[in-house]
């Protein structure tokens, strides 16, 4: 029994949420999915360890949840959208998580986003036909 290799596994710094990852992280993503419901959020908040046990979230994954180690959760295969349901209400944005992956501050992460967009108006003018106010 083997997991098939994919071309996307060679993209640097990139973790594609595929069957292999989803299979391994099913229990924790299922737990995070329940956070759509306020009652479940409250139940988790009251006793995080018991809530993990209820969903079969154990071992390293449970440790990362209890430590609110969102980067660790992502590295262990949590889906970013499901992780956001726990992280955002606790003050960690998706940009904070992205910055943490690179070991930089959120401000530095945001600055890099602006740097990557530099020159966009000139590029649009060269192609032509773009709205620009």
């Amino acid at each position: 029994m083997v997991w098939k290799k994919h071309a996307y596994e060679d993209i640097p710094g990139t973790y594609v949420f595929d069957g292999r990852t989803a299979h391994a992280s099913y229990a924790i993503n299922k737990m995070l999915y329940t956070f759509n419901d306020e009652k479940c959020r409250d139940e988790f908040q009251a006793d995080p360890a018991a809530y993990c046990d209820k969903f079969g979230v154990t071992g390293k994954l449970k440790e990362t949840v209890l430590k609110k180690d969102f980067l660790g959760m992502l590295r262990l295969g949590c889906n970013i959208y499901f992780m956001a349901k726990m992280a955002i209400p606790r003050g960690t944005s998706v940009q904070d998580a992205g910055a943490a992956f690179q070991g930089i501050t959120t401000k530095e992460f945001q600055d890099k986003l602006f740097q990557r967009a530099e020159g966009m108006i000139g590029k649009m003018e060269k192609i032509g036909g773009y709205w620009n106010g």
Binding site: H6, A7, Y8, I11, P12, G13, T14, Y15, V16, F17, D18, G19, A22, Y26, N29, K30, L32, Y33, F35, N36, D37, E38, R41, L74, N79, I80, Y81, F82, A84, K85, M86, I88, P89, V94, Q95, A97, G98, A99, F101, Q102, F109, Q110, K112, L113, F114, R116, A117, G119, M120, K123, M124, I127, G129, Y130, W131, G133
Partner: protein
């Protein structure tokens, strides 16, 4: 007969909904992004569709990972927005058009697109935010809306080629509906972005602009890429751009470009608005 008037693309990121909800659309960060919607809003107002079909991906509101349909069509009279767990206040429910949806479902299956039909379907920010950006946030929505969800969250996700073909089948399905209604399709999501991993924060303006140009004029171009190749250029979440091809495939090959708008960065993304008239 039903008439497909055109297609509109829009970002659907949560930040767009937050900016609208918090009255930030005219702040320096957001102004250029939202002002670039005005020509699209004007076109939409003039076109005055009776129904919009919104192609989007669910991010864990309606679908959990226990069942992940590749393509899922809403076939209900009403679609509710709901709490997604991170604080965006739900908006008013959307009225659907069940008769039209079931016609679309029958036609798509006849054309060998074996989609999942949904008689209950909660719609998340991916569906809601483009409508808010293009119509405003209203107590009562001025148009019926039908959700068409594409799995872009858990791989395998459909190829760009498959999405374009789905669009072509959808175009035929719309054209064969006997009622005299006007339809517009929204293709949402994209453009380049990656939320996680050491490569998080990727934006590729050149690729984004090429996508806008080619999707308008020569959508087959995008079907040459595998999903791995698209993610290598546009980021893992940039794969959402394949949903623009569903919109594009439904339109005539010679659909006219009415409006092009691009802005980056918006949150973590490059964001594009493309209006095509059939």
């Amino acid at each position: 007969m039903a008439r497909l008037l055109g297609g509109v693309t829009s970002s659907h990121i949560p930040a767009v909904g937050n900016a609208i909800a918090n009255g930030q659309t005219q702040t320096p960060y957001w102004k250029r992004f939202f002002d670039g919607y005005e020509p699209a809003k004007a076109w939409l107002k003039k076109a005055a569709p009776d129904v919009i079909i919104v192609v989007y991906n669910d991010h864990g509101l309606n679908f959990f990972l226990d069942k992940v349909p590749t393509f899922a069509l809403g076939c209900a009279d009403i679609y509710e927005n709901a709490d997604e767990g991170w604080g965006l206040k739900p908006v008013s429910p959307f009225q659907g058009d069940a008769e039209f949806s079931w016609h679309l479902a029958e036609s798509l299956v006849e054309q060998e697109f074996d989609i999942c039909t949904c008689q209950e379907m909660k719609v998340d920010h991916g569906f809601v935010n483009p409508i808010r950006a293009l119509y405003g946030t209203l107590e009562k929505w001025p148009v019926k809306a039908i959700p068409l969800a594409v799995n872009t969250v858990q791989h395998p996700v459909p190829t760009a080629a498959r999405c374009l073909k789905l669009g072509r089948a959808l175009g035929k399905a719309i054209a064969s509906y006997p009622e005299d209604i006007k339809v517009v399709i929204f293709g949402t999501g994209g453009l380049s972005h990656q939320l996680q991993g050491e490569r998080a924060g990727l934006i590729d303006v050149d690729f984004d602009l090429e996508c806008i140009e080619k999707i308008a004029a020569e959508p087959e171009w995008m079907t040459r890429f595998s999903n791995s190749e698209i993610m290598a250029r546009a980021g893992t979440e940039g794969i959402e751009t394949i949903m623009w091809l569903v919109m594009r495939g439904a339109l005539r090959d010679d659909a006219k470009v009415i409006h092009k708008h691009y802005h980056a960065p918006i949150s973590n993304t490059g964001a594009g608005v493309l209006v095509l008239e059939n």
